[in-house]
């Protein structure tokens, strides 16, 4: 009896996934391949003072990659990004977990309102959030002591950028963790309570271990988010001297492509960043799995 279904099933799934595959191929895979192609090319102007004829595209081998990798500013931008990630990722994961556990606590009141309040910043576009925080940081417009604290100082700027990023994403991650903790079987907590566990003990000893896979996923999202840091520093840039146009790797890729007008170097930087993102994803998810298995 199952045979006809299987025959039919062999065809239907293919039809159903076709639109997704086509869209993915057209708008993600194809441009990515083109970008990789471009990263091995460069522009060469013709003779004459202003380059005479039309500039031509020529092969340049790995030159764009070696240029990026041998540029200390590239490594500096990577370092700045990692520094922000070192603040931002743990802060995001810890805050989201704490908020989720607090909201799930029996004694918690006004949870609906609190959940919305924590989530709301996620609904604020990154650029708007950065401008909003930027005004709070600037001495002339700061309600939070910008005149005394130098939010755009050589060290302060890392906190300032991380703060905007964390503020924006904590709510989203909190919702993921909160749904996870709500979907856990309630009788476990009741059993723990009957055994005399306090609310805090239940949260830390029972709920938290059960949430571990979700926490690992949240950590993964945060790491990828940190690698893609762009909106916040770009928006804060014109407000002070602290942020250069190559401050983090993505800003550098953008500057290469659209300011210095070399899409070729921009493509190379982007591709390097993709490789790093994939590597980071593999590492973080492997660590996450190990934590999950150890439990």
């Amino acid at each position: 009896m199952s045979r006809p279904t299987r025959q039919y099933g062999g065809f239907l799934p293919a039809v159903l996934v076709t639109p997704a595959v086509v869209l993915l191929a057209l708008f993600t895979v194809a441009p990515a391949i083109y970008a990789v192609f471009l990263s091995f090319r460069r522009l060469k102007v013709g003779r004459g003072l202003l380059g005479g004829g039309k500039p031509t595209e020529v092969w340049t081998g790995l030159a764009n990659y070696t240029a990026a990798l041998s540029d200390h500013e590239f490594w500096a931008s990577l370092g700045r990004m990692l520094l922000i990630a070192a603040f931002g990722v743990p802060a995001t994961v810890v805050l989201a977990t704490v908020f989720a556990l607090c909201l799930d606590a029996k004694r918690a009141r006004l949870t609906g309102f609190a959940r919305l309040a924590i989530f709301l910043p996620y609904a604020v576009p990154g650029v708007v959030a950065s401008l909003l925080w930027g005004f709070m940081y600037l001495p002339a417009t700061s309600p939070i002591g910008g005149g005394v604290i130098d939010y755009f100082g050589t060290k302060g700027i890392f906190f300032s950028v991380a703060n905007v990023a964390v503020w924006g994403v904590v709510g989203f991650n909190m919702v993921i963790l909160y749904t996870t903790v709500r979907s856990l079987p309630r009788e476990l907590f009741e059993a723990a309570e009957l055994d005399g566990a306090s609310e805090f003990q239940i949260a830390v000893r029972v709920k938290l271990p059960l949430m571990a896979p979700a926490v690992a996923m949240v950590a993964l999202f945060s790491v990828i988010g940190a690698l893609q840091l762009f909106n916040e520093p770009t928006t804060l840039k014109p407000l002070a001297n602290a942020i250069s146009s190559t401050w983090v790797p993505l800003m550098r890729a953008y500057t290469d492509a659209f300011v210095d007008n070399s899409i070729y170097e921009g493509a190379a930087t982007s591709f390097l960043l993709i490789l790093m993102t994939v590597a980071a994803t593999v590492v973080v998810s492997a660590v996450g799995r190990r934590i999950g298995r150890a439990r």
Binding site: V45, G51, P55, A240
Partner: protein, 435 residues
């Protein structure tokens, strides 16, 4: 739609043939009627430009210009034009600041207009033409000249018993006097956000960042004159007499508006921008000649200044050029620019227009504002030519000077970084660079 455009091209070609006797090939189009309407797209970010375009549209019912404001100004726009050039989607006409024109020519974004616009040599002086003519071809009609000037809060200067400084040495002593009178006030700021501003100051000091000899470029961004300017400001910043905050930020706007910054090294177009920056201070500012390096020297650099150029993507280059010529060199066009955009014409004839007898609204207290501009314009000195990758130089300026201000290192070191970035990019692109 296709037929209409096609017919427009044919009509244009006929007009052109009639005017100049040039042999042009009409492309497509099945019927021809001289009453066909053409629409030209024009991109410009100046406030008030819509009224100038309206004036043209009233006079030219058959060549309607549609103005759009770009999503970003300066190099954001130029780089978009360079990218979109390949796709063929550029507007017919674009605003180009002088320093960006060589880059747009090198990328073949704009086309020569010699076939459509004649006799510019008799209407403009050599300095203005050198900004739009390259290798014997003309790529635009110069719109304005923007000499740098010193703006100061006359009310506060008067109260403190100070005068506008005539030399940079006086600028430094005045800065110190202001600081002494009120530690919260500054005579001005050093802006790492505005490469054109520093370039203008370097021009005044005698720098010549780019020079062309045949097909070979000479690049000297870190020359002695530029370093002199950097060292001068470095000293003032280290002494705390000048604010290191960049222009155009919320901080700067507030400080300009509330009397923290009581001076500004700006340019002719200042009164067009100031209303949105320091709206509460209208009528309180005065403009004075830019301080000189030696007393009595009237040399000044320029900051900004633009031309309109016709793009390679335009299907109606003749009409587009006609609009550009009308706006920037006809009496009606220039009068409209003065009135609506507060421009100061590059054309010597335009500088005599009666519209210049009254000051821009923001400078209502200074009736002879434009007389001052005319005097300043006579002393303008620019670089021989702007480099073909001034975008790289300018980006490097913001990074290098911003970094130096942030880390409190010597500003003159930033000029070396700019020099290196510029030369290595030019060599990479295949330009011939001496040295």
């Amino acid at each position: 739609m296709y037929v209409r455009i096609g017919a427009g091209v044919l009509a244009a070609a006929l007009v052109l043939t009639a005017c100049s006797g040039n042999d042009t090939k009409p492309t497509g189009g099945s019927s021809s009627s001289t009453n066909e309407k053409i629409e030209l797209n024009y991109v410009n970010w100046d406030g008030g430009m819509d009224k100038v375009v309206d004036d043209w549209n009233k006079l030219n019912p058959n060549i309607q210009v549609k103005l759009t404001k770009p999503s970003g100004t300066g190099y954001t726009l130029y780089n978009k034009l360079i990218t979109n050039n390949k796709a063929g989607t550029n507007p017919d006409i674009t605003e180009v600041e002088y320093q960006a024109l060589p880059a747009l020519i090198a990328n073949q974004v704009v086309v020569p207009i010699d076939d459509y616009v004649k006799g510019l040599d008799t209407k403009y002086d050599k300095a203005s033409l050198s900004q739009v003519q390259f290798e014997g071809k003309t790529y635009g009609v110069p719109q304005n000249v923007c000499p740098m000037v010193f703006f100061y809060r006359k009310d506060i200067f008067d109260k403190l018993g100070l005068k506008a400084p005539a030399t940079w040495a006086e600028y430094a002593t005045t800065a110190a006097a202001i600081k002494k009178a009120d530690p919260k006030k500054f005579i001005g700021n050093f802006t790492a956000a505005d490469p054109g501003w520093f370039a203008g100051l370097a021009q005044q000091a005698g720098a010549n960042w780019w020079k062309a000899d045949g097909d070979t470029w000479t690049v000297k961004i870190n020359d002695d004159a530029s370093k002199k300017v950097a060292d001068f400001w470095d000293d003032l910043i280290k002494k705390g007499l000048v604010s290191p905050q960049p222009n155009w930020s919320a901080q700067w706007n507030t400080d300009m508006n509330n009397g923290t910054l009581i001076g500004w090294v700006g340019a002719q177009w200042g009164p067009n921008q100031l209303p949105s920056i320091a709206k509460d201070t209208a009528g309180k500012w005065a403009a004075a000649p830019l301080p000189a390096w030696t007393a009595g020297d009237t040399t000044v650099g320029i900051w900004g200044g633009e031309t309109e150029a016709v793009t390679a993507n335009s299907k109606h280059p003749a009409e587009a050029a006609k609009f550009v010529e009308w706006m920037n060199s006809s009496e009606a066009g220039m009068a409209s620019l003065i009135k609506n955009v507060q421009a100061f014409p590059a054309s010597p004839a335009g500088q005599q227009l009666p519209e210049l007898k009254s000051p821009p609204p923001f400078m209502s207290n200074q009736p002879d504002y434009n007389t001052l501009m005319a005097t300043a314009a006579k002393g303008v000195r620019t670089f021989d030519i702007w480099g073909p990758n001034a975008n790289v130089t300018f980006d490097s300026y913001s990074n290098a000077f911003g970094g130096a201000l942030q880390k409190k290192t010597a500003l003159s070191g930033a000029l070396d970084a700019m020099q290196d970035a510029t030369v290595s990019d030019m060599k990479k692109l295949g330009f011939q660079v001496a040295g």
